[in-house]
Each structure stands twice: as C-alpha cells, then as structure tokens.
C-alpha cells in the first residue's frame, strides 16, 4: 500500500473563484471550508448527516459538506453562504430571512439559505408545501419553520418579479 500523503493539494471553484487548497486527506469539505479556507459561514450540528446545518451547493446541488470527502471536490463549483450576496446587496433570500424572522439564532440559516437557493434557482414558482419539502432536511430549533417558509415564499415572489 502506498503511504498516505500528509496533505492533498487541489483547486476548488469556491463562490466563483478558483482557490487552491491544501489539507489533510481525511478531511471533509466542511472541515476544509471552515478550517483551511476560513469560510466559517458554513455550520455544523452533527457531522453525521443528521441536521443539514452544513449544506452547501456543489455544482449547484444542495449537499452535505460534512459527508463529502474534500479530496473528491477538486475542480468543482462550491457555493457557500459567503457567496450569496452580490457585493453588499443581499440576495432576496437573505433579505427575506432577515425581514421575516427566518433567522433567530442564525445557526441553521446558512444551510437553509443554500437549500432554498437551489430550490428557487430551479423554479421560483413554489408552493408552501414544496418549500417545506425542500427544507425538510434542515433542522431548525428556534423558528418552528413557519417564518422560514414565509421568508422563502416572499423571496420567491420577489425573484419571480425580477425574472419577468
């Protein structure tokens, strides 16, 4: 068996920017984002796939960074909450979360936002039921989800308006 390398060197496309990364090979994407790229916006609540706090978009799809091997992400597009706003202009989802009580402690918020983004990017014409389905892999202990659904609904309406 070949010796396990101390570190792996790869390039990611993080929030649209090419970023060289170097990390210990046992790390998950979650650990690399937080510990090696200092992108601590992505959170963790279990590291076992059981809460959704670590959700990011990998090639546009919401996935759990805690169960993604960092060494399988070379060349991939990774979107995190840090890349959601355009400059200082908030994404409609961010503004809606802030305005409608979608975020209380804010800990589940990055995972919720990225999940909701993937949903609305696909189709901003969504029902409350579809929103609840989409975020059912993200636990929140503060809000009871209702205002999160309100926020996503409101952002969806805004995004529909913008698309017209």
């Amino acid at each position: 068996m070949a010796a396990i390398p101390e570190r792996v060197h790869l390039t990611y496309l993080v929030n649209g920017e090419e970023v060289p990364v170097s990390f210990a090979p046992y790390k998950t994407l979650l650990e690399v984002l937080r510990e090696d790229l200092n992108l601590t916006g992505t959170k963790h609540g279990c590291e076992l796939g059981e809460c959704g706090a670590c959700a990011v978009l990998i090639d546009g799809e919401p996935k759990l960074s805690c169960l993604t091997l960092a060494l399988e992400c070379g060349g991939r597009s990774i979107q995190t909450v840090e890349g959601l706003a355009q400059g200082t202009t908030l994404h409609p989802l961010q503004a809606a979360f802030a305005d409608h009580g979608g975020s209380q402690c804010g800990y589940c918020t990055p995972g919720m936002l990225m999940t909701a983004k993937a949903l609305l990017d696909g189709n901003p014409n969504v029902s409350r039921e579809q929103i609840k389905q989409a975020i059912s892999g993200n636990l929140c202990r503060c809000t009871g989800y209702q205002q999160i659904v309100d926020a996503i609904e409101s952002a969806a309406a805004e995004m529909r308006g913008a698309r017209k």
Partner: protein, 338 residues
C-alpha cells in the same frame, strides 16, 4: 467535530479497474459511492477501511438503459432515480422517502442496497459503544438486543430493497473474475454482520427491473416526515388481469429483520384473487405474521409489530384503487402518487 480516520484513497475510472483494486487490496479496502452511509460509520469507527475505492469517477455506473425492462447503473444518485420517468412507482415512493433531499442528492442506489445494517446499540459513537463494552456486530461479544443470540440481529434499513424485491428486480455483481446476476432478495443474508451475499471483490454494478406491467407501491413507517430510516417497509407489486383478478403478486417486507425479504405465502395467496376486503384482511394477517421486529430501532417494539397489518392494508387498498392520498399524507407527510 467528528472526524474521519486516516485512509488511502483510490479513484478508478472503470469497473474493471475498481474490481482489480478491490481484489488486490483485500478486505482492508471498501467501496465508497455517495458515502452517506460509509462516512458516518467511519466517523463513529464502525468501519475503518485502510483504503477507500471511490466509484464516483466511473461513468459506466451512471448509465440508464431501457429494453424489455429498465436497467439502472448502481452509481445513479437517489435524486437521479426520482428524475427518471420510467422509475416504477414502488421504487419511486421508496426512494423519495429516503433520508433527506440533500442525502438523496448524494446517496446512490447501489449504496442504498449495500447499506450497513443498523441497531441502536451499534449506530453510536465509539465512546458510547465502549461504555456498553461494545456489541457482537463490532468489537464486542454480546448481542445486547437478545443476549442469548449467537447471531447479530441488526436491522436491514434500506428502503429500496423491499421495493425492488417486490418488483422482481435483480442486481449485477461484477468481480475481478467476471460478473453474475442474482435476484435482489438473494443479495441478502439474515445476519446483521454478514448481511450481503456479495463477495468482497464484487461491485454491485447494475439493477435490472423487468417490465411486467406491475402496479406497485411502498409504505414506510418512520417517526418523522424526513431523515428517519424505515422501521417497517411494505412493498407490494401486483399484476392484474382485465377482470381485476391478480395474476401475479409479490409482497416484500423491509426493516423487520436483518434482511429484506419476499413474503411468499401472502404473494402466493393473492394470485388469482380479487382484492375484496376479506382477501385484503387475510393477506394482511399473513404479511404481518412475518414481521418480527426486534427492540433495536426507534419506536415501541410491540406497536411496530401491531401496525404491520395496517401498513400492509394501506398498500393493498392503494393498489385496489382506494383513495389513500390523505392517509399517505398523514403517514409519509408527502404527496406521493405514481
């Protein structure tokens, strides 16, 4: 932060290459597809392979082909299975109820079929398991579910397997010395530790579902509307003749033993019958009598056994054409139709 142990990583580009690596590395190597089962297990030190052989870079495993039936590459993700129009109803319903949307974007059909068995004494962190002096399945000598048992009774928790068994599907296993095709139920052994009949060097490469005009359905018992593994899965596939007489029937149960299995007696019984209330009741009793859950999953053991009958009834009534949408919404918290 729960972290993975150190491992070596290999990324073959073809099935043949993967099979060669597996054969060469022996039991210290494990396949990884979506990783949604294996990585949590590694973090908890249930499984500590020295070498991970990734199936992600093998395009052949992503293929879908139609012929007399449908053939799914084992590397298709669960979300991809849901996006394929031809996916039969039971498989679609089972797949849509697996874990969460994020996990379905990651986990594969092959990985789901090869999912490690589960048990509340086993799916715990290393420190917890140390506190009970470990268990038969891993590092210990006693099965804490049934202390007299010589056999590990961890539960098969795959949702797709019972659906695929009902649909009479088979799997293709490819090893360094060739490939073989076996029915899905033959993939499993009723042993919580050696739960697969797959040889260590074999890769599950494809899932074949014959096209037989089956009407099928899957009902899953779990506590919440998402995340939770099945603690009972009832899959039924029926082929009706013109007069609503059942020509062919296959009933399968999941999550009530160390393997998913075909309920032969009920399947035979249903053949040649119409789904009257009496026939349904009789079939349900037969199905339920085969559900012998153990006290190693979520929810009350006796209750789980008692409702097997009802879940079988939901499935059969739905196939009869009863409007089960409200019930499905209540049980599965989702609108799922064919």
């Amino acid at each position: 932060m729960m972290r993975l142990p150190w491992f070596d990583y290999r990324a073959p580009r073809s099935i043949a290459e993967a099979a060669k690596i597996l054969a060469g590395e022996g039991p210290q190597a494990m396949l990884i597809a979506g990783g949604t089962d294996l990585l949590p297990n590694m973090k908890r030190r249930h499984q500590t392979p020295k070498v991970l052989v990734s199936l992600k870079g093998i395009p052949e495993l992503k293929k879908v082909s139609n012929g007399s039936g449908i053939v799914f590459g084992s590397g298709l993700t669960l979300s991809e299975i849901l996006n394929i129009e031809k996916t039969p109803t039971a498989l679609r319903q089972a797949t849509a109820q697996i874990a969460t949307a994020h996990l379905r974007n990651m986990g594969t059909l092959g990985g789901n079929l090869c999912l490690d068995t589960r048990c509340t004494y086993y799916n715990q962190n290393y420190e917890w398991r140390k506190a009970i002096d470990f268990c038969l399945k891993k590092d210990g000598a006693t099965c804490w579910v049934a202390t007299a048992s010589k056999r590990c009774v961890a539960v098969s928790s795959t949702d797709t397997a019972p659906a695929l068994i009902a649909l009479n599907a088979s799997v293709v296993l490819t090893g360094s010395s060739g490939e073989r095709e076996i029915p899905v139920d033959a993939l499993y052994r009723n042993d919580g530790i050696e739960y697969l009949s797959r040889r260590p060097d074999e890769i599950l490469t494809a899932i074949k579902i014959p096209q037989k005009n089956f009407k099928s359905t899957y009902w899953k018992l779990r506590r919440r509307g998402s995340f939770d593994f099945p603690i009972l899965g009832v899959a039924v596939a029926l082929r009706f003749s013109s007069g609503n007489i059942i020509q062919d029937a296959r009933v399968a149960l999941g999550a009530v033993a160390s393997r998913p299995f075909l309920v032969e007696k009920a399947s035979e019984y249903l053949k040649g019958k119409a789904l009257s209330d009496d026939v349904i009741a009789e079939a349900c009793a037969m199905i339920a009598s085969r559900a012998k859950p153990m006290d190693n999953t979520d929810m009350d053991l006796y209750w789980r056994k008692e409702v097997a009958d009802d879940f079988a009834g939901y499935a059969l009534r739905e196939l009869r054409g009863d409007d089960m949408r409200a019930m499905r919404m209540r049980i599965a918290r989702q609108e799922l139709t064919g």
